[in-house]
Amino acid sequence: MTQSPLPEVGEDAPEVPILDLRGIVKHFGPVEALVEASLIVNAGEVVAIVGDNAAGKSTLAKIVAGVLQPDAGEIRIAGEAVTIPNPATAQKLGVATVFQDLALAENLDVTANLFLGRERVLPGQFLLADGEMEQTARRVLRDLGAFIPSVRTPVGQLSAGQRQAVAIARTLIGEPRVVVLDEPTASLSVAQTAEVLLHIERLRALGLGVIFISHNLNDVRAVADRVEVLRHGRNNGSYPGGTVTNEELIAAITGAVRKGPHLSAYRRDRK
């Protein structure tokens, strides 16, 4: 944390969110995917996004990842207004995303997958810095607490949970500030889910902001600091992950309870 002009109340009281989306609008023809949606993510915070199918969860993730462009709205990263025209820019800005299909190359080993498209080269040569990449791969997997015996194993031979771990580890290569996980626990066994939830806790402990998109309210409430509900592309409530109940979340997801923009409580920095 850099020098701040404000007096320190707690360690991170005068905080600028790492990611701040405001009034995001996205239409696909007549479909309103997102309507004035907002989202704030702070460093070391796990923000879960829940909602019914077609509530706009994945659209929001794709906008953050630079895959889709918003029709209107503002994106700020660490306080600076930015546009994210493509995934490469997202990566440069420190936003790393793991999509549902993971996008891993089955025939390549773990290290090659981690560095895919950004392989490191030995200085002054055309040769790949294999040793260095393997070392980094081992370190990143260890930081994550991942359960993968060898970084030379082809990804095709790994279990579903291990692949998820590789996909999450890949986000750590570019020294990101925000990691977006789109349904990371869908179709995993309980043991694999446990691993992924522990990975999320590790990312948080490393000081990253995590966006965790999921249908499973138990998983969400287990690790999220804050739960944001989307309904028909609109924000429909923001709840503290440690104390919210399943009943409250279901009411917000289904629309039994409706709320307006609910973010003011989290703008601690600008009252």
Partner: protein, 392 residues
């Protein structure tokens, strides 16, 4: 890698054996191909050494498949069967599998939501046990018993929580019966502080102390009482429930229905409340880890909790006169920041004797004490059944 220096063939083989055993133990189970990758040895070397190790009974080889191909899964050798220990905490589930040489062969933690429900959590615990058995190349047939620890007093005869309301959503069912039906395996349930006390008394900080108190300072406060080397559960299993001793006659109403219990003053909710304005959302484990790195606000909260708990412990110690208090649970992970104020307020409140002042020491098994105790309960019960069988 002590073998490198001498360079002889024998010492090289010793080093290779050690690195293979090490890899198998770390991952629970690996195929021979994975072993070669993990150790950097050739497939032929791995195959030879695994055959040797299997011959001397150190590892076992099970046929399995990896991405459709046949493979040889290598696991640590087990004696007789496998027992499962389950600790159901307020915010996480911890499961260990161990064999009858009382070695832990697999361990997994699953984060849980606040106020999780009995049906969902026991279902996930059962599935997690099955997943973990699969990971070490075993199956439910080999499972001989399940020990379960819960953060509430338990009536061991019925397997139910003996004080309603203390663990929300868990009151109406027999916990051991649900698990027995799910996995068709005998199951036993006990209070987690009792199990941790058992674990610490047989293989931890209480080993040399026939009279000690295990303090479990976690999301709520509990304790396990060991008198003359035996766990004292009390008539209805509520012995040691120090979280429900009144410390503030005008305090908040506790989950149990009383007013101003210790839990309402130093439980999770009470510890986080004063930090919320300055720190935003923090969990109990965040507070402990920040206190450990010197954050003044979090340190203060943890230290004050230690002082309050110490005063309550003084009353308990006046009655029981233990030699030592073994401190476990998440709060104790903060170390001396927590223990030192607790020790001082404890000593202020107990009768000084000429033999030795009462001390507080950290739990040797840390936050794993509960699950290790749950696993140990399976070993104990299985011994009893064996003996019973011989008598008949």
């Amino acid at each position: 890698m002590s073998g490198w220096g001498s360079g002889s063939q024998t010492s090289l083989r010793e080093a290779n054996r050690a690195s293979i055993l090490d890899a198998v133990a770390r991952y629970g189970g690996l195929t021979q191909v994975e072993l070669a990758a993990a150790t950097g040895l050739s497939a032929a070397t791995v195959s030879t050494i695994v055959k040797e190790l299997a011959g001397s009974g150190l590892v076992e080889v099970h046929p399995t498949s990896r991405s459709g191909r046949r493979a040889q899964l290598v696991t640590v050798a087990r004696r007789i069967g496998i027992g499962a220990g389950v600790h159901i905490g307020h915010r996480q589930l911890r499961v260990v599998l161990g064999d009858f040489s009382s070695e832990v062969i697999a361990e997994q933690v699953l984060p849980l939501p606040r106020d999780h429900l009995i049906d969902t959590t026991l279902d996930r615990a059962a599935l997690l046990i099955v997943d973990m058995l699969d990971r070490v190349g075993s199956s439910v047939d080999e499972l001989t018993g399940i020990g379960i620890g819960v953060p509430a007093p338990v009536d061991r005869a019925t397997g139910r929580i003996s004080v309603p309301g203390v663990l929300r959503g868990w009151d109406d069912e027999s916990i051991d019966q649900v698990m027995t039906d799910r996995l068709n395996t005998p199951a036993w349930v006990d209070n987690d502080a009792n199990l941790a006390a058992l674990a610490e008394s047989t293989r931890g900080a209480g080993r040399d102390h026939p009279d000690f108190l295990f303090l479990r300072a976690s999301y709520g406060i509990g304790s396990g009482v060991v008198i003359a080397g035996r766990l004292h559960r009390g008539y209805a299993g509520t012995a040691g429930e120090i979280g429900h001793i009144q410390v503030d006659p005008r305090g908040a109403i506790c989950r149990c229905g009383s007013r101003g219990c210790l839990d309402t003053v130093v439980g999770e909710e009470a510890l986080l409340r004063p930090l919320r304005a300055g720190y935003g959302t923090l969990g109990l484990r965040d507070v402990v880890s920040r206190a450990g790195t010197g954050d003044p606000g979090c340190s203060r909260v943890v230290a004050d909790a230690g002082e309050t708990i110490g005063a309550v412990l003084a009353g308990v110690c006046q009655t029981l006169n233990p030699q030592v208090i073994v401190a476990g649970g998440e709060l104790s992970e903060a170390g001396e920041i927590f223990l030192d104020p607790m020790r001082r307020s404890l000593r202020r409140g107990v009768l000084a004797n000429v033999v030795a002042p009462i001390d507080i020491v950290p739990a040797t098994l840390g936050t794993r004490a509960e699950v290790v105790g749950a696993f140990a309960m399976v070993l104990d019960h299985t011994d009893v059944t064996h003996r019973g069988g011989n008598q008949r």
